[in-house]
C-alpha cells in the first residue's frame, strides 16, 4: 500500500530521536509520544492514547513497551517492530560504548553535575506525563475520583498497584466511567 513505507520511516525517525532525548526513562517521554502520536500525526485519539498507556502499564515488561503499542496502532505489526527498535537501538549502541569508558570518570565533578542537573528535568517531565494522562483518562468525575484515589494510595501506602488496577478495572466494568 502506498504510504505504509512513509509511516514506518516517520515512526523510525520520531522514536530514534526520542530515544536520545528520553531523560528519566520511558514515562518521562510520554508527553513527547503524545504530542507526536495524537497532536502531530493523528495516529490515534486522546482516549486511545490513554488506553494504550494503561495496557502498557498492566502488561509485564519494561514501561518502554508503550512504544510497541503506539507503533502497532500507527502501522500494524511492522510499525510495532520499527517503533520498538528505533526507541531502543540508538540508546543501546550508546550504552554499549559509554558503559566501557564512563566508569573511570565516576568521581569527576562534571559527571556529578550532569547527574544532579538531570534530576529536576526528569521530575518536570514525569509531572507533565501525569497531567497529560490524567486529562486524557478523566472524562467524568468517577474517573477523576479513581485517579485521585490511586494517587493517594500510591503515595501514602505500599499497596501493590495490581490491587488498584483491579479495583479501577471493576469500577470501569460496572459502567461508571
Amino acid at each position: 500500500m502506498k504510504g505504509d513505507g512513509d509511516i514506518l520511516l516517520t515512526l523510525a525517525g520520531h522514536f530514534a530521536l526520542l530515544s536520545l532525548f528520553a531523560i528519566g526513562g520511558a514515562n518521562a517521554a510520554v508527553p513527547e509520544m503524545h504530542r507526536v502520536a495524537v497532536e502531530l500525526r493523528h495516529w490515534m485519539t486522546d482516549r486511545q492514547f490513554a488506553d494504550l498507556f494503561a495496557i502498557a502499564q498492566v502488561s509485564p515488561g519494561p514501561n518502554v513497551i508503550i512504544v510497541t503499542l503506539i507503533g502497532y496502532q500507527a502501522a500494524g505489526l511492522a510499525g510495532a517492530l520499527v517503533a520498538t527498535l528505533a526507541m531502543c537501538g540508538p540508546t543501546c549502541v550508546f550504552a554499549f560504548y559509554m558503559g566501557r569508558t564512563w566508569e573511570r570518570f565516576r568521581e569527576a565533578r562534571w559527571r556529578n553535575a550532569i547527574q544532579s542537573g538531570l534530576v529536576p528535568i526528569s521530575i518536570g517531565l514525569i509531572a507533565a506525563s501525569a497531567l497529560i494522562l490524567a486529562l486524557a483518562a478523566d472524562r467524568n468525575w468517577v474517573a477523576g475520583a479513581v485517579t485521585f484515589a490511586t494517587a493517594a494510595f500510591g503515595y501514602w501506602t505500599r499497596l501493590n498497584p495490581l490491587w488498584m488496577f483491579t479495583a479501577a478495572g471493576l469500577i470501569g466494568l460496572a459502567g461508571y466511567i
Binding site: 530521536l17 526520542l18 532525548f21 528520553a22 526513562g25 514515562n27 510520554v30 490513554a50 488506553d51 494503561a54 495496557i55 502498557a56 502499564q57 498492566v58 502488561s59 509485564p60 519494561p62 518502554v64 513497551i65 496502532q73 510495532a80 531502543c88 540508546t91 543501546c92 550508546f94 550504552a95 554499549f96 558503559g99 566508569e103 565516576r106 556529578n112 553535575a113 544532579s116 542537573g117 529536576p120 528535568i121 521530575i123 518536570g124 509531572a127 507533565a128 501525569a130 494522562l133 490524567a134 478523566d138 472524562r139 474517573a143 479513581v146 485517579t147 485521585f148 490511586t150 494517587a151 494510595f153 500510591g154 498497584p161 488498584m164 478495572g169 471493576l170 470501569g172 466494568l173 460496572a174
Partner: protein, 192 residues
C-alpha cells in the same frame, strides 16, 4: 581495569542463563522492572553486590533512553561482551514484545466493545493516578530541601519550568531540553 564497579562474577554466567534471568525479571516486572532486576541480579543470583547494582543503575539512568534497557546492555556486555549485551536485551524485550503485540491486536479488534472500553477507562484512570504518585515521590526531596534551607534553590524552579513548557504549553521535547539541560547542569555545577 580490574577495579571496575561492575566486576564480572567468576565464572561469568552463560548466555542462556543471562537470557533467562532477564526474561524472567521482565515478565515478573509489572509496572516497572527495576525492583525485579535488583532481586534477580543481587539477591537471587548474586551477580552484583547491592552497591554495584546501584552504581550500574544510576549510570543507566544517566544515559538517554529507557533505563532498564540501558542496564541490560551495560550489564550483559560487562559479563559476556557484545553477545552478552544482545542476549540480555533480547531476554528483556522479547517476551513482553510478543505479549503486548497480542494485546495490541486484541485492542484493535475488540477495543470498541462497551464493557472492555469501560475496563480500559478504569485502568487508564488508575494508571494516571500512579504516575501522579510517582511524581510526588520524586519531587518531595527536591522541594523539601528548598523549604528546609529556606533558600531559593534553582532545582525546583527547573522542574516547574520543564513541567510548564512540556505539560501546559506542549512544546516539543528536543527544543525544551536543548535549553533546560545545559542550564540545569550549569546550575548543578556552580551549586557549591
Amino acid at each position: 581495569m580490574s577495579e571496575t564497579p561492575i566486576a564480572a562474577p567468576d565464572p561469568p554466567p552463560g548466555l542462556s542463563e543471562l537470557f533467562l534471568a532477564f526474561a524472567s525479571m521482565s515478565l515478573a516486572g509489572f509496572g516497572g522492572v527495576l525492583p525485579w532486576a535488583r532481586r534477580a541480579v543481587v539477591e537471587q543470583r548474586k551477580w552484583l553486590t547491592a552497591e554495584q547494582f546501584n552504581e550500574a543503575f544510576s549510570f543507566s539512568q544517566l544515559l538517554p533512553g529507557p533505563n532498564i534497557v540501558n542496564f541490560s546492555v551495560i550489564f550483559g556486555s560487562r559479563l559476556r561482551g557484545p553477545a552478552g549485551a544482545a542476549v540480555a536485551l533480547a531476554g528483556l524485550l522479547g517476551p513482553p514484545l510478543v505479549i503486548v503485540t497480542i494485546f495490541a491486536m486484541l485492542y484493535t479488534r475488540y477495543g470498541d466493545i462497551p464493557w472492555l472500553q469501560g475496563v480500559l477507562s478504569g485502568l487508564a484512570a488508575a494508571a494516571a493516578g500512579l504516575i501522579i504518585a510517582t511524581t510526588a515521590k520524586m519531587a518531595k526531596p527536591l522541594f523539601e530541601k528548598a523549604l528546609a534551607t529556606r533558600s531559593l534553590d534553582a532545582a525546583p524552579l527547573v522542574a516547574l519550568a520543564v513541567f510548564f513548557a512540556i505539560g501546559i504549553l506542549r512544546w516539543p521535547l528536543p527544543y525544551v531540553l536543548a535549553v533546560a539541560a545545559p542550564v540545569s547542569i550549569a546550575l548543578a555545577w556552580f551549586r557549591r
